[in-house]
Each structure stands twice: as C-alpha cells, then as structure tokens.
C-alpha cells in the first residue's frame, strides 16, 4: 500500500435499461485528498467501462456531477474522499433523488432544465447584484458594470434533497423558485410573480430548508423562496389598493 493511501470501497448504484437496479462494490486504493469523482472516474477507466455518470468541469462550475454520496447530495468533483469516509470505509454512490434514472448514476435533467428556462433563470448576472442581500459584498467592486456567471450551477441537488419534490412531481422546485426570485429582483418583471403564486409554486414549500443545506454554490434557495413569498404578498396587497396594476 502506497504511503498515506486509503483502502476504500465504492458501493455504486447500477442500472441498465429496464433491468432491476443493484449495488456493485469496487474496492479502490485512493489518496484521501482526491475527490469522490476521481474515484468514480477511475472505476470507469480501470474496472468497468459500462459505468455511466455525468461530469464535465471537475471544479464546481458546471453542476453535472451532483450525486447522492452516503445518503447526502454532494457535488462529487469538490467533495474530498476524506470528508465522506475513513480508511477502510465505504462510499455509497447513488443517482440524485427525484429525477428519472437513465442509467447508473445518470439522471434525466430535461424537466429540470425546462423549469429553469420557464423561470427565466439568468446565467450571467451583474457582479454588483450577484450575491444574496444579507451577505457582505465579497467581491472587489470598481464601479464598472462587470458581469459574472451566476451562483446557480443547475446541479439539481436542491430538488433531490427537497422532501416536497419527493412526493409532488408538479412542484416547481427550489432551483426554479430561487431563479425566479433572483430574476424578479433584477428585472422587476411582475409576470414572474403570477408564475409562482400557485399551489405548485412558492406556497408548496414546507420549510424543510434541505435545499439550502445541500446547495454547493451559495444560492440559498430556501431564503429566496421565502423572499419570493414576501414579494408575492406585497404585490397582492398593492393590487388591492391599486386596481390598475
């Protein structure tokens, strides 16, 4: 055994076509500072070429590699093996919850991406307004109209963790609602509010706050959903007094 290396068993969810799913063990020698995704990629490269998983950027900008690691949603490209197991331990890797599984660890993002599009989710936002209002401004600001790629990387992990998304397929979900809140705060487009002011929108959330707990990217969907509720109520009250709106 190479010095400092760990022996870890990857227990991986496998499923092909219409066949029933099962779990397959892959014992691996790893450097504990490697990321979970490195281990999965090595299993594909050296042990089983039929293993399928989503991945692209390997540094948390694309959001493709969200999976269930030991029961918790993790962005596997930035989750060190050290953080989820110990020497001689097991890492259980499963596809995200609440998404249809296409094969092994690959889930179907079609519906999710469609909802993000319907929510008018922005991918590039002004740097000055890119953080949450309660955060101290973390970025240098020289007063120029800089833009940056948004916090939300559309990994789907908030939807996977959401207890309501578990039972209600029509729920718009934390990611889309958070995106609606952000777009509304940047554009003031009132039609966005009517989109979420419904039984499958902001009012469906049951305050589990799981979305915020698993978000790898500081989006804080729960805060945004609550803020969106406030905006919806404010808009409704305004409408009572200004019939023309």
């Amino acid at each position: 055994m190479t010095e400092g290396h760990w022996h870890v068993t990857f227990c991986i969810y496998r499923k092909k076509g219409d066949q029933p799913p099962f779990y397959q063990d892959f014992p691996l020698e790893v450097d504990p500072d490697e990321y979970v995704l490195d281990g999965i990629e090595r299993i594909w490269a050296f042990h089983d070429r039929s293993l399928t998983f989503r991945h692209a950027c390997h540094h948390s900008t694309c959001g493709a590699c969200g999976m269930l690691v030991n029961g918790v949603e993790k962005l596997t490209c930035i989750t060190p093996i050290r953080a989820v197991t110990k020497n001689g331990g097991t890492i259980r890797v499963e596809p995200l919850r609440n998404f249809p599984v296409l094969s092994d660890l690959v889930v179907d993002m079609a519906e999710f991406y469609l909802r993000m599009e319907q929510a008018h989710a922005l991918q590039v936002v002004p740097v000055a307004q890119s953080t949450l209002p309660y955060e101290p401004p973390p970025f240098p600001d020289d007063g120029l109209p800089h833009q940056r790629l948004n916090d939300c990387i559309e990994c789907g992990m908030c939807v996977s963790a959401c207890p309501i998304a578990l039972t209600a397929s029509s729920y718009q979900g934390p990611a889309a609602l958070a995106a609606t809140q952000q777009t509304y705060s940047l554009t003031g487009e009132k039609s966005l509010l009517s989109l979420v002011d419904c039984a499958d929108g902001v009012w469906r959330c049951h305050s589990g706050f799981e979305c915020t707990a698993v978000c790898p990217s500081n989006v804080d969907p729960a805060w945004r959903i609550m803020e969106l509720r406030r905006q919806v109520i404010r808009h409704r009250i305004q409408r009572i007094f200004h019939q023309d709106r």
Binding site: G17, T61, A110, P138, R148
Partner: protein, 394 residues
C-alpha cells in the same frame, strides 16, 4: 426520386463536435453526434474557461493569436449567455517580464489585438487584489466562459437544426465496405448495454486528444500529443478580470475569475494513456505558488477543486509548449487512402467555431455540397434547450 440528406456521423461531443454538428446541421445535412459520455465530459468540460484574446500567443504563435481574437469577438456575440466578459490584464512582475514588453506590443499590433497600457497604480485601483509589485500592466479583451454551457449552447443550436445527439454511445469500430471506404460505425449504447450499427456518408473523428486512439481501429493515424495541464480552483472571487503573466506562455501564468472562484492554470506534460491521467500533487502546489504571485490574496483562500485537462496538440515535440495551438483538419483519403473519414483535432476552446467551419467546409467539399457557413452571426440557442425532449417546440 427524392434526394435524402447526406448523413454525417460526428464522433465526440466536445466543443468541436458540438460546434461542427451545429455548422453542418445549419448547412442542411443530417447529423448524428455520438459520444461515450455526456456532452463535454473529456477535455472540453475541464477547460480552464479562458476566452482568449489571443494576446497569450501574439509573439510565439501568431496564427493561433489571430484565430483567437477573431473568434473571441464572434463568441462574445453569439454565446453571450455563458460568458463573463470583463477583460483581462497582462502584468509584468520582474525584469524578464519587462523585457518581453516590446515584443508583446508589436505582436499584439501585428495580430490586431487591442491592448491598452495601464498605469500600475490605476490597475491596482481596478483590481485591488492584484500583486502590489506589478511593474507594467496591459488591458486585453479576455473573457471567461462556462465550459459545459458553451458546448451545450452549440449542441442545443445543432438540435434546433435537426442534429441528433447520442450521448453515452461509445464508438466501437468503423464499418467499411471492404475497399477502404468508411461507411459507418459500430456503437455500444452504454445506457442499455445494447450494440448497434449506424450508417453514414461520412464520419468525422472529433475526439481531440483521443483522435489517435480512434484512428488506430482502422489503421490510420494522426500525430496528436495529449498534453495535460493541471488547474486549481480557489473558493473566493478575488478579481473580476483575467490576470495573465506578461511573458511567453508558461506554467501557471493565467488566473481567471469564474462564478465565486478564481482558477489558476496551467502546467504542461505529456501523457501516453489519456483515459485517466492522475493529478500530480507537486504541480498543484506549484499552481498555488503561481497564483499567489499574481494575486497574493489566494494564500488566504481554500482550494475548491484540483483537476487536469488533456490538450490535443498536433505533432510530437519535446516540450508541449513548443507545439502550436492551432488546429488541423485531416482528410484520410489523402493521408491514409481511406475514403469517408475526416479527423479534426488540435485547437482550443476559443477557436472551436472556426474549427467547425473549416471542417464543415471540407465535409461539404467531399460530399459535393455548396452550402456555406452561417454560424458566425446569429446568437446560439439557449443551452438549456439541449435537454429538451425531441419533438417539443419544434
């Protein structure tokens, strides 16, 4: 008799494959893209994310530099949806860097890259986290993109024009007619474990660093050197502009902002086996040092990710840096006497649209079509449309 569309198979759904699918589909061809993984799961997805202004190559590799600045301007227009365009700085930190200054200015001018000398004091006002010891600063039109979403935007546009994508379909072998003409490919559907065959009028090998491996199956070859480089991402966005070291291309000389992170890159070494290249710990530590020398605040950050990406460099050189970063399109009828097979490799993310244009030109010429490229003007479709089920809104 109705004329059916010519069918082209593209192997590899990286930047080149997706951009080529878009170009060919727009020209009216029937296109199928196959990849053994998800879109951009190889080199493309792991790209540093720098939308090159070309200034990096304006002294040593002017052909690449000119390609970069042209494509930089086009991509800013057509792929604005996934680019943070805040410009970049080239900074001199020592006498050697200053000595490069004159060549840099001339090179940039020759390549048509707009550079602006900025007083170091002014530069530090604009980027407070920049190393206070900077001696000279130039502004260049650099940008930063999201790798997966850039590829998806091309793929979504390709799908809009009718191209079909088969992710998780591994190309197993070529089909030939027995007389040296490629007539299709054998596929392994990794989602269901099923095997199938797919016929085509032409097959394009757009597998980048894997191009040589694919061609071995049919006894053809191109000389591609997979040249991986290490990148390290840190957990704080300390800058808004790309910070480049004002010198010849070297290790750890580009620090980019991306979302809430900064990402330093990169190194350069050669690898034989491309399917899995381990990340060298020492190189990552070297990246830390290089990042700190550009922006000292990196020392207070935590690493968020350490990863590598294998560039496809054309040719065989002692040091990867000496190989040109331009791309090349091979017609295997001329190189190996094999008809119906084209390989595109080399190049870089910034020039992927141009690579696609040149390859599509060759494909059309080989198929006797006269359609011309139309990908440079109109913005790409929303990247999210790639995941839209077929038949929806079409």
């Amino acid at each position: 008799m109705t004329q059916t569309k010519a069918h082209v198979i593209i192997i590899g759904a990286g930047f080149t494959g997706c951009a080529l699918a878009y170009d060919l589909a727009r020209r009216g061809l029937a296109v199928t893209v196959v990849d053994r993984g998800e879109i951009a799961s190889g080199t493309s997805g792991r790209t540093h994310g720098l939308l090159h202004s070309g200034a990096r190559y304006c002294v040593n590799d002017q052909e690449s530099a000119i390609e970069c600045i042209h494509e930089n301007i086009i991509l800013r227009k057509i792929a604005h949806q996934c680019i943070e365009y805040n410009g970049g700085f080239f900074v001199a930190l020592n006498e050697q860097d200053l000595a490069y200054q004159a060549r840099f200015e001339i090179g940039a001018q020759q390549c048509g890259i707009e550079i602006d000398a900025i007083h170091p004091q002014k530069a530090r006002q604009l980027e407070p986290n920049l190393n206070p010891a900077v001696l000279a600063v130039y502004h260049v039109p650099d940008g930063v993109f999201d790798p997966l979403r850039l590829a998806l935007a091309f793929a979504a546009s390709a799908r809009f024009f009718g191209a079909e994508f088969l992710p998780y379909h591994e190309m197993e072998n070529f089909l030939t007619n027995g007389q040296g003409t490629v007539t299709g490919i054998k596929l392994w559907n990794r989602l269901t474990n099923a095997h199938s065959e797919l016929k085509a009028d032409l097959v394009v090998n757009a597998t980048g660093a894997w191009a040589g491996m694919i061609l071995k199956k049919i006894g053809a070859s191109v000389v591609v050197t997979p040249t991986p480089g290490i990148m390290v991402a840190y957990n704080r966005r300390l800058i808004n502009r790309v910070i480049n070291r004002l010198n010849e291309p070297g290790d750890g000389d580009i620090l980019i902002p991306q979302r809430r992170m900064v990402v330093i890159g990169t190194t350069s070494y050669e690898a034989e086996e491309v399917d899995y290249i381990p990340v060298e710990k020492e190189q990552a530590i070297q990246m830390d040092r290089d990042a700190i020398s550009l922006v000292p605040g990196v020392a207070t950050c935590n690493r968020r990710g350490v990863y590598m990406s294998a560039r496809p460099l054309i040719g065989k050189g002692e040091a990867g840096r000496s190989l040109a970063r331009t791309f090349k399109c091979f017609d295997h009828r001329e190189t190996d006497g094999i008809e119906g097979l084209v390989t595109i490799t080399g190049g870089k993310a910034t020039t992927c649209r141009l690579m696609a244009e040149k390859t599509a030109d060759l494909v059309c010429q080989k198929l006797g079509l006269t359609a011309t490229c139309e990908t440079a003007c109109e913005p790409l479709r929303s990247y999210r449309e790639y995941y839209r089920p077929s038949g929806v809104n079409r």
